[in-house]
């Protein structure tokens, strides 16, 4: 049975890309405000699990429930709209639009939600301040360091006040010090906003910022919150 009080749960997910199964019986749950690390060797299906949980990819079978709603059977448009309003994303790289300035990048999810430009950029600036990158507003992503860029990305993931943040190797391209700073600011900001984080990482020191971890191996994961 699904764990009580959880915000997002996945039950017995299966997903196959071509001949190889990426998920082969994955379980997952997260409570509001909780930080759960998804760990496992590369190729184990961590990212696929995240994509399924975020409604980016539809699993072949299994159920995903978000806030009492069945995510896996929602049409694409509805899932997209959910991602715009309730979810936030941080990836390893390739996520900032190179031609937009940093503040426009942060404002982008709000703009996609139909917020007016001025208001969107005002709110974006607030979040950039919290992530200590408020001085980068008019710079383009190409002109800032990796750590700064990642903090801009974190600000962007938080700007819509999402309830769940999805982070896929958010520090993968950063050195220890920068990685730690990003994790520090990220988890702090998320906790103060009571946002849950699904944190995909293979690094133990990054996973150490979580409350709990779920290990994916060969597409299988167990969640002890599930009473079998």
């Amino acid at each position: 049975m699904t764990p009580a009080g959880s915000l997002l749960t996945a039950q017995d997910l299966h997903k196959t890309y071509g001949p190889t199964p990426a998920l082969d019986g994955a379980f997952f749950s997260i409570h509001p405000g909780e930080i759960v690390a998804v760990m496992g060797p590369s190729g184990s299906g961590k990212s696929t699990l995240l994509h399924c949980l975020a409604g980016i990819v539809r699993p072949d079978s299994g159920t995903i429930t978000y806030d009492g709603r069945e995510l896996s059977s929602m049409p694409d448009a509805e899932r997209s709209s959910l991602r715009r309003s309730d979810f936030g994303f941080v990836f390893q790289f390739g996520q900032l639009v190179p031609e937009l300035t940093c503040v426009e990048n942060v404002a982008l999810p709000l703009r996609l939600n139909g917020v007016k430009r001025k208001e969107a950029e005002r709110r974006a600036a607030e979040w950039m301040e919290r992530l200590e990158v408020d001085d980068l507003g008019s710079k383009r992503p190409g002109e800032v360091s990796g750590g700064q860029g990642q903090r801009v990305a974190v600000a962007r993931s938080l700007v819509t006040s999402p309830r769940v943040l999805f982070a896929d190797e958010p520090t993968g391209a950063l050195d220890s010090l920068n990685g730690e700073r990003v994790m520090e600011l990220f988890t702090q900001a998320a906790r103060s906003a009571n946002a849950a984080i699904v944190l995909v990482t293979h690094e133990a020191r990054v996973a150490a910022y979580s409350d709990r971890e779920i290990v994916v191996r060969d597409g299988k994961s167990r969640d002890l919150e599930f009473t079998v």
Binding site: P41, H202, A204, R205, A207, A208, S210, E213, V215, R217
Partner: protein, 181 residues
Amino acid sequence: MVCIVLGMSIGHTLLGLLESGPRHGYDLKRAFDERFGHDRPLHYGQVYSTMSRLLKNGLVEVDGMEAGGGPERKRYAITEAGVSDVDQWLAQPEKPEPYLQSTLYTKVVLALLTDRSAADLLDTQRAEHLRLMRILTDRKRRGDLADQLICDHALFHLEADLRWLELTAARLTQLSTEVRA
């Protein structure tokens, strides 16, 4: 160092070896040396003292004796209590600390030998490592720079262990065929 660690778990190791069937003392020593002894074989004295402690605690029983007497001539068999003691030991994560790998290695091999889940064992251990890492990360967040540096040291070591755990987990299939060969 290694001896100390071994001393702490030698009884469980010998018990585990007995799970596959009764053995003579010298058999036990040879099996142990083959798998875990490497360059430091067990002394007969260690085997004798350990076995008599296990006998006293009711974890093994004497199954028979060869002519000539002496502890190395006794044949030992594991008792019910012995099996559950091995269970407990394998399921219990080790306290994350430096130079843990010998114990963990022993545990993994024994788990494989006794058809227990080595992956579960490693997962449990990882969870324990992560639990400690969380505590350290948290402490680091609250502490001053000195605390941070000390915690970082410990974190990096724990991370190294964890990487070893990951690697071992990835090679379990390979290891099990070798161990059972």
